[in-house]
């Protein structure tokens, strides 16, 4: 796709330079800290799993036992327990679930612990690399079979077995990406539930077993349809890195994974989120997962016309944080949304400008484009038209990941037929105007080009302001989405630890090496 908005490259470069300077001090903070969920994610990668009779997961049991010594890294004590008890991983999990305390075991010879840990890292790396290789092999085998942009649907019944039926149906109708939306409670839980689940509100619990069940079901469709189906979940909330770890182990392909979403929209402590997002993104980078960032959320709370620059600014910051965690551009599903008030005269032109601007500024990123939600009403017939216009913009501007709009958006979680109608709508529009984008040039002094330039300029000005203020103070002052989040407030702060001098995490070391960080 050729450049068509005549955006000044030096202003884009200026925005990237500002983003780098804004993120740098935060990265220093991140390096010096760990959190309870970073430690639990590390334990999960090593093989800690299962739950006690009350449903408390083994990684939580371990971290709770080590509360006072977490700054040394939890893995040392768990590996020590393997060495000391002579158990294998499954056996130790069972013992811990049955009440074994590993904090009271005396430490074995450091060399023995190192050796055991190296073995665990190698086992995990084989599995994650195997998953990545399998995905790459299937994508190569079925190259050209997916839609462009990828058509993305959500299932959300609360019951993983019901989700499987809905996901299979959607995949058979042409969906390329299936996301199992989480139950509304989960982002604020400081643990990941264990096992298959059948109850949830507005979604289904993310558990490793649920991941496995859905992956297996979709893999059957992959073979039958001869098309790869991407499985998506949410590495967000208080357990970002643990969900990423589970996803790496069970071959999820995409993760919702934003650097600041939890702070702003879930009132999670900012220190906690910054540390968590980094480790979760390193795991995602390693596993070949495509992240989806959450810029659409800025527009559900603020006005999409006035605050368009906050979306672009956040995209620059998310990109910077992603690079710092080893993600490559093809893994950065930077987000934005079609959320302008449909009654605005020429609103469509502004939507088109915004989408094309993102495409041109992030040429290699598989942009994640979100459908209208805020101005969807019970008028399902109008909703179909709103979604058709959204489909039009997405196709014309070459978006990467296209979340399908549902005609019943404002009414209920999608019925099976709603997804079918959405897929038919998108397939029709996108096929019927497949090459329109290559036929059209915009007037250099026209409204679309002018709008994109104006938003870019506002973005640079906004980033200048944040750079001057500092990212954490800027969040405290409410510069993002008009939401103020003090740095010592919010959920999960008690789970933050400054790393001790002897902090030991061989998985982190391995990730650094693999990702060239």
């Amino acid at each position: 796709m050729q450049m068509r908005l005549f955006l000044p490259p030096e202003r884009i470069a200026r925005a990237r330079e500002l983003a780098t300077r804004i993120v740098a001090p935060v990265l220093e903070f991140i390096e010096a800290h760990t959190t309870v969920t970073v430690e639990r994610a590390t334990l999960r990668l090593a093989g800690a799993d299962g739950a006690d009779p009350d449903g408390v997961p083994v990684p939580n049991l371990v971290v709770d036992q080590l509360r006072e010594r977490l700054d040394e890294g939890a893995l040392k004590f768990w590996v020590n327990a393997l060495v000391r008890t002579g158990e294998d991983v499954a056996g130790l999990n069972q013992q811990i679930a049955a009440g074994l305390r590993i904090d009271s075991l005396s430490l074995a010879d450091p060399a023995a612990i190192e050796e055991k840990a190296a073995e665990l890292v190698a086992t995990c790396a084989r599995r994650v690399k195997g998953n990545r290789a399998l995905r790459e092999e299937r994508l190569a085998r079925y190259a050209g079979k997916n839609h462009a942009p990828l058509l993305y649907v959500i299932v959300a019944t609360g019951n993983i077995h019901e989700d499987v039926k809905q996901a299979r149906a959607a995949a058979e109708q042409g969906a390329d990406v299936v996301a199992v939306i989480r139950t509304t409670a989960q982002s604020l839980l400081d643990y990941v539930p264990y096992g298959a689940t059948t109850e949830g509100f507005g979604g289904t619990y993310a558990t490793q077993e649920n991941f496995r069940i859905m992956r297996a079901a979709l893999d059957e469709v992959v073979e039958r349809q001869g098309r790869y189906i991407y499985l998506t979940n949410y590495a967000s909330g208080l357990c970002m890195p643990e969900i990423a770890a589970m996803g790496a182990l069970e071959r999820l392909d995409m993760m919702l994974n934003d650097s600041m979403y939890g702070i702003l929209f879930r009132d999670i402590n900012m220190y906690r989120t910054f540390v968590d997002q980094k480790f979760s993104r390193m795991i995602n980078a390693w596993a070949g997962v495509i992240i989806n960032t959450g810029e659409d959320n800025y527009l559900t709370t603020s006005d999409a016309v006035e605050k368009a620059y906050t979306v672009l600014a956040s995209q620059f910051l998310n990109e910077r944080f992603a690079f710092a965690a080893g993600l490559e551009p093809w893994q950065m599903g930077l987000g934005h949304a079609f959320e302008m008030d449909p009654s605005i005269k020429n609103g469509f032109l502004m939507e088109l400008a915004q989408a094309l601007m993102a495409r041109e500024i992030f040429p290699e990123a598989p942009l994640k484009y979100m459908p209208p939600t805020k101005f969807m009403t019970g008028d399902i017939f109008k909703g179909v038209v709103q979604n058709a216009l959204f489909n039009f913009v997405s196709q014309m501007t070459g978006q990467g990941i296209h979340l399908l709009g549902m005609l019943t958006e404002a009414i209920h979680t999608p019925f099976m037929q709603d997804r079918y109608l959405a897929l038919e709508n998108a397939k029709y529009v996108m096929n019927n105007m497949a090459d329109l984008g290559n036929e059209v040039e915009f007037k250099r002094d026209g409204a679309i080009v002018g709008r994109a330039h104006a938003v870019l300029e506002e973005t640079v000005a906004f980033l200048e302001k944040i750079e001057k203020t500092g990212l954490m103070p800027a969040i405290e002052e409410g510069l993002f989405a008009d939401i103020k989040r003090p740095r010592d407030m919010g959920k999960g702060l008690e789970g933050l630890r400054k790393k001790a001098d002897g902090y030991w995490n061989p998985f982190e070391t391995h990730l650094h090496r693999e990702l060239g960080l």
Partner: protein, 246 residues
């Protein structure tokens, strides 16, 4: 007087209705006939399946038309809305508050329980409002506190006590498995347990809320789809004037 009413297609009393639904059976002539019979069973004459499609191996989708003889007596219908036809505009509302109450009205709003969807409470409270209807934050004579999403009922009450609120607004968007009913009921029970129920005007809002449901659950009013800040403000002002007896 009775006034018999049926759906209108293109002729009075033709009873024409449009339906769409999914059946858990494969697409094909047998599925299509099942769909037609189902529509007939609903009481429609001239049931016609105008479109059928396969959703997946075991599911099929139908669009149907039918004509019904079922009717309602329009004359016998009464609806309770929280507000009458007269609504105060933002400026009128502020004028009335100044003139009749002589102080600012304090409103606390939140999306409670695990519900993370602030779109409803934001539409009513935020400065910007929704669809060109400004929210309560923009009302000079209203002190609006929007606590956002996932606020526990206890905290909402504590906050309302702290700022001496006149009214509490609760938004519930997620209604799966009737979670909103549990949440809304809990708030009233907590208020009653702390003998605070009479102290506040308590309103519920959300896409699946209506005034009747809210009254049944012990609220002062309920607001559903199509509600703007003017509706809520008008109700609150009238109720406050009534309470104050001014």
């Amino acid at each position: 007087m009775t006034q018999i009413v049926r759906p209108y297609g293109d002729t009075l009393n033709d009873g024409a209705v449009q339906l769409s639904f999914t059946l858990p059976v494969p697409f094909g002539p047998r599925g299509r006939e099942a769909a037609r019979l189902f529509v007939e069973r609903l009481g429609f004459r001239h049931a016609e399946i105008v479109h059928a499609a396969a959703l997946s191996e075991g599911f099929s989708f139908y669009v149907a038309y039918g004509r019904t003889e079922v009717s309602v007596d329009y004359d016998a219908i009464h609806v309770e809305e929280a507000t009458g036809e007269k609504l105060y505009s933002m400026n009128e509302a502020c004028d009335v508050i100044r003139a009749r109450l002589g102080r600012k009205v304090v409103v606390v709003g939140a999306c409670t329980g695990f519900d993370a969807h602030t779109v409803g409470i934001d539409a009513i409270m935020n400065m910007k409002g929704y669809n060109h209807h400004y929210g309560l934050e923009r009302y000079h004579e209203v002190e609006a506190h929007n606590l956002g999403a996932q606020v526990p009922n206890e905290k909402l009450i504590d906050y309302a006590v702290k700022v001496k609120a006149d009214a509490i607004l609760v938004s519930q968007i997620v209604t799966q498995k009737d979670i909103h009913i549990q949440n809304l009921t809990e708030l009233i029970e907590l208020l009653e347990a702390r003998s605070l129920r009479e102290r506040f005007i308590v309103c519920a809002g959300g896409t699946r809320i209506n005034n009747k449901l809210a009254l049944e659950l012990g609220y002062d009013a309920g607001f559903g789809q199509g509600t703007y800040a003017e509706h809520v403000a008008t109700f609150l002002i009238e109720r406050l004037i009534e309470k104050a007896g001014v």
